[in-house]
């Protein structure tokens, strides 16, 4: 095992990695930008080194600085966390070249999976299902033929298309010709290129991903799935494991295929194979993330396996201690990402100083936080301040426990999306498990206005009480007399005046 590991990241994931290292008896080296000198990961690490200005382009993303600190601090390995440099093949290569172990897959795997077209090709070759589609098509007959083979409904897509432009949903054969014309003309006018192709239209797609672990001895296992269908602008917000989108057969099949996908690139370390699942439990390869995922904790809760420790052990050359048959799902876990953003104002980010922080506790509650009371959430980075997970015997228990935990979670000084989570977890469709990637855009129209009379009275009373206390303190502070803008002047102890009477 390593003696010392550098964590090339910040926030909760840096803290997460530091915790894993501590439990393995490995010393930790943190790096910090000027905005992060007092950050939690700096406090928790054994060593900490500055790497420049707040903007990540000048600090956390500068390979040279990271490697320099690694050398200076004597770190033998670097854990990239997620984001930042975690999926840059060039960084993984640079580490290797510098004689430092990159805790993650080999550069080739990152490279191959990083390019979506290559990845799709590799997967098809490996027999992994991808969203059925065609190459660029020619005349009407060819298009009709292709549409028939794929089966309606289909998507007509302009090769040069993007940003929702040059796309058209085609429900039935009759619409092909008209749609084809309009797509081509739109493509022509928009991109000056009228080439188009067809892709199968996935109705109410659900995002289900499978966690895999591979060691340097060619052993690859999967740790079952996570459902991440609740997304806002392609940003995952709530995840759960297991997924209601698939039955046990499909679950095992999907796991097996994820392992084959990983084998196709001789995958080493922790990775995630993402699939789109349709209403009929057909699943299609979407992409593979060659790093630890934000939502990895729910898999840990359900399988009992510490994924970050596994990453480090694998990188240290240890063989997997768990066999596929030992991996079992027990219970249900849900993760809510706590963001410093205002769900009442279109999720506008809300950085600032955390005046009060009270984290929930008790059975089945896991909080992976990157902040502390008194910390000023910087404007420079991701607004996620914590990941709150709830574990229960059943999905319902997990949901109820999460609601309980959200109620206990107190973050003052900044606005968070906690009320949004309470909305989502109590939404009939979520409770019924009737979710897909369109859930939030379809259902969320702002927080419900609780027209609770008592609530209003309490809020008013609290404000008045605070004001009253403020006035009282003011009165007492200025010994015997006070003059406030309230027009109150010259307070004097009655006793004094009575003495004169």
């Amino acid at each position: 095992m390593f003696k010392r590991v550098l964590i090339a990241n910040r926030g909760e994931i840096a803290v997460r990695v530091i915790r894993a290292c501590r439990e393995l008896g490995v010393e930790t080296v943190a790096v910090y930008s000027d905005a992060d000198r007092s950050a939690l990961h700096v406090q928790y690490a054994d060593y900490a080194y500055p790497i420049g200005p707040a903007p990540s382009a000048e600090s956390y993303l500068v390979v040279e600085k990271i490697l320099a600190v690694a050398k200076q601090s004597g770190a033998e390995a670097i854990h990239p966390g997620y984001g930042f440099l975690s999926e840059r093949a060039s960084f993984a290569q640079a580490c290797t070249d510098a004689g430092i172990v990159f805790i993650g897959p080999q550069p080739e795997a990152i490279e191959q999976m990083g390019d979506k077209v290559t990845a799709r090709a590799i997967m098809q070759k490996a027999g992994v299902p991808v969203v059925p589609g065609t190459d660029v098509l020619g005349d009407e007959d060819e298009v009709i033929a292709a549409a028939n083979t794929i089966g309606f409904p289909v998507m007509f897509k302009a090769s040069a298309g993007g940003g929702g432009k040059g796309m058209r949903l085609v429900e039935k054969k009759e619409d092909v010709i008209s749609s084809l014309r309009s797509v081509r003309s739109e493509a022509k006018s928009s991109f000056g290129d009228d080439r188009m192709y067809i892709e199968k239209f996935i109705e109410k797609p659900r995002h289900v991903e499978v966690q895999v672990l591979g060691d340097t001895y060619g052993n690859i296992i999967h740790l079952y799935e996570r459902e991440c269908s609740l997304q806002r602008r392609h940003q995952k917000v709530i995840e759960e494991s297991p997924s209601l989108a698939i039955n046990q057969d499909v679950r095992e099949q999907m796991g097996q295929i994820a392992v084959e996908a990983a084998q196709a690139v001789q995958y080493v370390g922790a990775g995630t194979v993402e699939f789109l699942v349709d209403a009929h439990q057909n699943f299609y390869f979407l992409e593979m993330n060659t790093r630890i995922q934000v939502e990895h904790p729910i898999t840990e809760l359900v399988t009992g396996v510490d994924l970050v420790k596994a990453q480090i052990e694998i990188a240290a050359g240890e063989a997997l201690t768990i066999k596929q048959e030992d991996v079992r799902q027990r219970g249900w876990a849900i993760e809510c990402r706590i963001y410093a953003e205002d769900p009442d104002r279109d999720f506008f980010p809300s950085p600032g100083k955390i005046q009060i922080l009270r984290t929930p506790g008790g059975y089945g509650v896991r909080d992976d936080s990157g902040v502390y009371e008194g910390w000023e959430v910087p404007i420079h980075y991701d607004p996620m301040i914590s990941k709150l997970c709830a574990y229960g015997r059943t999905r319902d228990e997990a949901i109820q426990r999460m609601l309980r935990a959200l109620q206990e979670y107190i973050v003052e000084g900044i606005v968070t999306n906690i009320p949004f989570h309470r909305w989502a977890l109590t939404h009939p469709r979520f409770v019924a498990g009737d979710i897909d990637t369109g859930f939030i855009p379809q259902e969320y129209t702002g927080l419900p206005e609780e027209e609770d009379h008592l609530r209003h009275e309490i809020i008013l009373a609290a404000a008045a009480l605070a004001a009253y206390h403020k006035d009282q303190e003011l009165a007492r502070s200025i010994t015997g007399s006070v003059s406030s803008s309230a027009g109150v002047s010259a307070w004097r102890a009655s006793g004094w005046r009575e003495g004169l009477r």
């Binding site: 009060i356 004001a467 006035d471 027009g487 002047s489 010259a490 102890a493 006793g495």
Partner: protein
């Protein structure tokens, strides 16, 4: 103490009266609440209202009170009566008359410092009200003539009660 509060687009009149240690009578418009209120730490309060338990956080910044309750924040604009009268208009509270002298809190009239017909300067002390073991000289908001005095020494007055009418000069 009496306050004018604005929550959302509604305006309320609130009166806070300390009954005993941590015990308060809070009138919101005409609704009375008996509250056991404790400051826990910093801005946090624990309120017991008819045995119902509420934990809230109240942050204040120049008369703007942000009350956080169950993860949601509510902005309450709060001014004591006098201030409401002074800056009321701009503060978006308005409504209160400018010139009349009113009691900011329930208490007892200790002394009248002016007589009807007197000329008073702006900010001149006109009456002394005793409340919560302290005496409080209330000043005229405007310069003018004392038109009418509605109370006498020793009289108990309610919060917000009209004490003296002034005729602006």
């Amino acid at each position: 103490m009496a306050y004018k509060a604005k929550l959302g687009d509604q305006t309320y009149t609130i009166d806070v009266q300390e009954l005993g240690e941590h015990k308060y009578k809070i009138m919101i418009d005409d609704e009375e609440h008996l509250i056991d209120g404790r400051q826990l730490t910093g801005h946090m309060y624990s309120l017991l209202v008819e045995n119902q338990s509420f934990t809230v956080d109240v942050a204040e910044k120049d008369d703007e009170y942000t009350v956080a309750y169950e993860g949601k924040s509510f902005r309450v604009h709060l001014l004591d009566e006098r201030k409401a009268r002074r800056g009321g208009a701009e503060a978006g509270l308005g409504g209160a008359e400018e010139k009349d002298v009113r009691s900011m809190m329930p208490g007892k009239v200790v002394e009248l410092l002016v007589n009807e017909g007197d000329q008073v300067e702006k900010d001149q002390s006109v009456i002394v009200i005793e409340a919560m073991k302290m005496e409080n000289e209330i000043r005229a908001a405007v310069a003018g003539t004392v038109k009418a005095i509605h109370v006498e020494a020793g009289q108990v007055v309610e919060s917000g009660q009209l004490l003296i009418e002034l005729e602006e000069a």
